[in-house]
Amino acid sequence: MDKILEVKGLSQVYGPGCDLCFTSTGPEFETNICPHCGSIVALHDLNFDLYKGEILGIMGESGSGKSTAVKCLYFDQIPYSGSALFFDETEQKRLFELNPAQRRSLRNHRFGMVYQNANLGLNFDISAGGNIAERLLMSQVMNYREIRERARELLARTEVLTERMDELPKNFSGGMQQRVQIAKALATRPPLLFLDEVTTGLDLSVQAKILDLILEIQSELNTAMIVVTHDLGVIRLLAGRTLVMKYGRVIERGLTDQILEDPQHAYTQQLVASAL
């Protein structure tokens, strides 16, 4: 199996930061706020490898640092420290050493992101088709008919009625917005997809369909994914391996079924016990 991403020592601090930040926060202190400088240690020393076609789950409550991790990797935020190596087709790229144009190019061509809040991933003022067109246009596809055709195919694949492709996504239901986001994320067939709480807030039946869709896409395109969620059900269905996070730290990691059936950490045991 081939590695696609290698993350080492990834940390994120909001605030000035001080020498004591990392040694005074975390699960054992039950806080991620540094008592010395008031900074928030959103993430500390995250390490993991991701392989091609693999789905990795990152589970935790809000404030655990799980979303911060993907936001750093997708360049929505600049991390405090750490490294991430992306194994692209022919070359390896150190994500946090790239210049803004290189970062944008990776975001547009090689990564996809689906946010919990669709208006972060979609431009609500342009049509569903236009949203997909935007990503294709970034990839220098300059033929109008071809763009229309590919947008239509992608929306059909993600089960959005293609008659609605020229409508504004702000008029769509939540589930439909997520489908458009997924279609947009997939437009350039990226080998790596980030999913941040994608089903949170949707009806159960809609959730199940979205999760199904994600798995189908993963098996069709062999897309590697990082799935961030607080929902054990999502983790169970999607992820092969899971990291459990609390106060910015990974407190437990393992195969997803092991995490769910034989959790080691007190916090994970509590999570699993309260959910099952």
Binding site: P100, A101, R104, N108, N123, I126, S127, G129, G130, A133, E134, R135, L137, M138, M142, N143, Y144, R145, I147, D166
Partner: protein, 285 residues
């Protein structure tokens, strides 16, 4: 002028700064160079950007032509020309394109081809083609730097979806030297192809927005379009499919102004008055 106003109005420090900006603009075709635009004694929006360029570049051997809407005799053109004459003693002015070394224009590029020894200065109200998709200048700067124009292209895509046609009528976004996209000032689409590989230096000055940019000679300029939905200039064919002609000179090759005459008839007339007069002179020998 009596009360101690400098040649070409601006003080020499200001001129030097503008010239430096012009050189930078030529070196980076299509890049909007910020400069500290001075207040001119006419309103922002009346061509103060173009005027500052003209005044910074002008010398006593220059012959200046000022056009507004294609005409040398429109109010604003006259106003600017008078100001230039007043503040630049010794220079010559003309309405003949061929005689001019420095041409300042608003909304038109002359019909006849410019020469390598001429400079065209265009007045610009909105220098940034991205403003329709991004209000923040800070963000637009990054987008230009990375040649990130997908949102502008999406605007074109949405236009075709809605109207089956790109609806941008003037200020047509144009890519210069394969990187920066400029707002070519409110010239009609008809004039945009004249930017491409022009022999003359074309400078753009935005006074209120404080930007200078350039299309240097022999520089590629491509209006944005899709491979299968080409850029199109204004259509002057009538219902019988014939190209309309100028009422005065009979030219079927010029950009036409359309208006209703005293009798209530719709008539067409060359927008470029100098060109029109030259055509008439040719016809009458």
């Amino acid at each position: 002028m009596s009360n101690g106003i400098n040649f070409a109005f601006l003080d020499e420090y200001a001129k030097r700064e503008i010239r430096r900006s012009v050189i930078k603009a030529i070196c980076i075709p299509g890049y909007q160079v910020p400069y500290s635009s001075r207040e001119m004694p006419m309103g922002r929006g009346f061509g103060t950007g173009g005027l500052q360029l003209t005044l910074a570049l002008i010398g006593v051997t220059d012959t200046v032509k000022v056009i507004d809407q294609g005409s040398d005799d429109s109010v604003n053109a006259v106003n600017l020309r008078k100001f230039i004459e007043m503040t630049c003693p010794g220079i010559a002015t003309t309405t003949r394109l061929q005689e001019a070394t420095l041409i300042q224009s608003r909304h038109r590029i002359p019909e006849q081809a410019l020469r390598a020894d001429q400079i065209l200065v265009l007045q610009v109200p909105y220098p940034d083609a991205l403003v329709i998709v991004e209000p923040s200048e800070d963000k637009r700067k990054v987008m230009h730097g990375e040649a990130d124009y997908s949102r502008l292209l999406v605007k074109l895509y949405e236009d075709i979806v809605k109207f089956d046609e790109i609806t941008i009528s003037h200020r047509y976004p144009t890519r210069i030297n394969d990187h920066y996209i400029i707002d070519p000032s409110p010239i009609p689409r008809y004039d945009v192809p004249k930017l491409h590989n022009s022999k003359a230096l074309i400078l753009f000055g935005a006074g209120r927005e404080k930007k200078i940019y350039a299309v240097p000679p022999h520089c590629p300029a491509e209006p944005l379009a899709f491979d299968d939905v080409p850029f199109r200039i204004e259509d002057f064919t009538d219902s019988r499919g014939e190209r309309r002609a100028c009422k005065l000179c009979g030219s079927q090759e010029s950009f036409l102004d359309e208006f209703i005459d005293e009798q209530g008839e719709r008539v067409y007339q060359c927008s470029d008055s100098d060109y029109c007069e030259q055509q008439q002179e040719l016809a009458h020998g």
